[in-house]
Structure formats: structure tokens, C-alpha cells
Symmetry: C2
Subunit: 90 residues, 2 copies
């Protein structure tokens, strides 16, 4: 059941400190398209930690997460499913 609009937000992950804001948005059921390249270029280990953290967070809350090419990650709330049929990884 849903009356209010869902929001889709495109954001950039520059730092580990951006993680809490991302989780806050995910908790509010915002669809997030996160550009991860700035952190990837700065600290690939931290990016890996952030992705693992987000993956656990999203899966435990019934949402969905997928890579979008080299640059971005998509996170969706429980009522939005990422279509994996011919999911375009490029």
C-alpha cells in the first residue's frame, strides 16, 4: 500500500562519513543511485567495506542492491525490485 510518492535520488559517495546519510535515505525508502568512483579512486578498501556494509543493511531490510556499471550502485526499498533478467552490467 503506497500513496506517497517514492523518491529517487542520485548521490555521490566521497567518504566513509557519507554512509550514515545513505542508510538514513534507504530507511526512508528512497531509491538511491550512488556514484562510488570518488571513494574508489581515493581508497578502494574503504569502498569495499562501505559496499559490504550497505549490502548487509539493504538485504536485512528487505531491499535490493546491484552494481550499475563501474561507477554506480543502486539501492532500492522493499517495494522496488531490481530486474535481473538481462541486467546490464556495463
Amino acid at each position: 500500500m503506497q500513496k506517497e510518492p517514492i523518491y529517487l535520488k542520485a548521490i555521490t559517495l566521497r567518504d566513509m562519513s557519507d554512509l550514515s546519510g545513505i542508510k538514513e535515505d534507504a530507511r526512508k525508502h528512497t531509491i538511491l543511485i550512488i556514484r562510488v568512483t570518488p571513494l574508489a579512486h581515493k581508497d578502494i578498501d574503504n569502498l569495499r567495506k562501505v559496499i559490504e556494509d550497505l549490502y548487509s543493511y539493504v538485504k536485512s531490510s528487505g531491499g535490493d542492491i546491484a552494481r550499475l556499471g563501474e561507477e554506480r550502485v543502486v539501492i532500492t526499498p522493499p517495494n522496488v525490485k531490481i530486474w535481473k533478467g538481462a541486467y546490464d552490467l556495463k
Copy 2:
């Protein structure tokens, strides 16, 4: 009012002929993240036509459309709003 899940689909626009499938998905209220670079590299004029066509189509059906960096365009159905507050164009 919404009970069924919304789908989010990442696809690639390679040709003008992909346009009808994209409109069909948009009509079914699928959120689309379209990678446009293959057509951009092949025929920039045709890409412009496709984008204009999609823009009119989406706006007339109450949806939303926005550029996502250089490579992608996002299309949403009427119940999903693209957050433009600090919309990340990079």
C-alpha cells in the same frame, strides 16, 4: 495505491528500434536506467531525437526523466519522483 512491486530495470540503448521497448516498459510503470552511450557514439543526432521523444512521452504520462552523468538517463513512472535538490549531474 500500490500493492505490486515496482521494477527497476537497467538497459542499454543501442538503436532507434530500442525506443518502442523502452516506451512499453515506461507504460508498465517500470523505472528505467538507460545507458545511452552506445547510440551516442554511433549517431548523436538520433540520440537527441530519442531523448526528445522520450522526454515528451514521459512528461505527458506524468512521469519524470533526468540525465545521470554522461552515460545514462533515468525515467520514472508518475509515483516515483526524481529528487532534484542536489541532483548529481556528474
